[in-house]
Symmetry: C2
């Protein structure tokens, strides 16, 4: 009897865990954790050892309660007196958002945007290694750009498979974006960061994050006006 109850309980737990995907952390939390880590590293270089939730919150532009909740999600606990140990927290966040052996990344489209992105990752983020860059412009390929050699896109599938690349960055014009995405997915990519201003169609199991600059600027323009209006009213 007791055993059977225990069995049922176990089953329930298992179902919950598997069905809902472990204790899956939301995309928003993952984004904030990435932000916290950067802030923490920056604090560390300034000689800080510990940090409180409200300090991290103010640096990150979020509420202290949210910081505590996000940190709860990674399973780390601070001390009420000293707050969080920066080293330990960075370590814990890394254990969640980094792959232990690191992940390999490919970038397609070495125009201005592609080069800017390559610059962003020079040296930083040791767990995310840009292993290949591609372009279809003969003038840009087989040259070394920003420390990375650019290959012709015809070699994309081959190199992605050989280098075990699982993440792709799409910096090509919108006309070419869907084709590139298809090739990336076929070759084995499971995540795509898309800068092209069209939504990509990908099979289930592939995660796409869109960075839509036009959309963002229109949003800014809209709220630049709207919040200005609000201000006027309250004056």
């Amino acid at each position: 009897m007791v055993l059977s109850i225990a069995a049922v309980k176990n089953l329930e737990l298992t179902l919950e865990d598997v069905g809902k995907g472990e204790n899956m952390i939301s995309a928003k939390s993952i984004g904030r954790l990435s932000l916290y880590r950067r802030l923490l590293i920056s604090l560390k270089t300034r000689g800080e050892e510990n940090v409180h939730s409200h300090k991290l919150a103010s640096l990150g532009g979020v509420s202290p309660a949210q910081v505590r909740r996000d940190i709860m999600a990674v399973g780390y606990s601070g001390s009420p007196a000293r707050g969080y140990s920066i080293d330990e927290l960075v370590e814990c966040i890394g254990r969640i958002i980094d792959h232990p052996e690191g992940q390999n990344v490919a970038l397609v489209g070495v125009g201005h945007l592609g080069r800017a992105v390559l610059n962003y990752f020079r040296g930083r983020r040791p767990k995310l290694r840009v292993r290949a860059a591609f372009d279809n412009d003969i003038n840009k390929t087989n040259r070394v750009l920003h420390g990375y050699r650019a290959h012709p896109v015809t070699q994309l599938a081959e190199i992605i498979k050989r280098e075990k690349i699982t993440v792709g960055i799409v910096c090509v014009p919108k006309e070419a974006a869907q084709d590139v995405a298809n090739n990336l997915v076929d070759a084995g990519c499971r995540g795509i960061l898309n800068f092209a201003p069209i939504p990509l169609r990908v099979p289930p199991g592939v995660y796409v994050e869109d960075i839509d600059i036009t959309m963002s600027l229109e949003k800014v323009a809209y709220f630049a006006r709207e919040t200005a209006k609000e201000e006027e009213k309250t004056e």
Copy 2:
């Protein structure tokens, strides 16, 4: 009697409208409306005249219900039989997210990223005019880049005021970002699109949209792994 009821009704409406900021549309909706408009224009060039919510939804990667809701927010109504008139819908969306006289935009930091952003806006979006570009690198200033002349940042305040610029794009390294933001706000900008990987501190009434490439890539890497895990389980 009848008059007084009417008066009360009017008062209520006014209170509701002013107090909650018109019928303020959420940032997410504004973003999607901007997306819809682009999709609609693209459909139009392919000769389409009308479109249904499910078509727009599938192109935009959202649900049909959400499309209808967003469109409801702009106050446009389609026909059950023909769907939405593309021309009319584009017109209505524009009436919400565009300023009638257009808005002027400044871009600070003419590195690879800045040039990529300038390219994005070559010719498009007639209501968002890039009127000035700035850089602190002597080699880049007083030259014409991508059709825009780059000024030294020392002239930022003066030009922003003269050109009545209300939106700024920050494409400078993170060390300089907060300074640039301060200058933009002081000179009159009410909205900032920030590519620097740190949160900007701005006074209330200024809207900031962050585009954090590092964060986005870490998110993609995380979910590339997690969704892959999920797939394995269900196999």
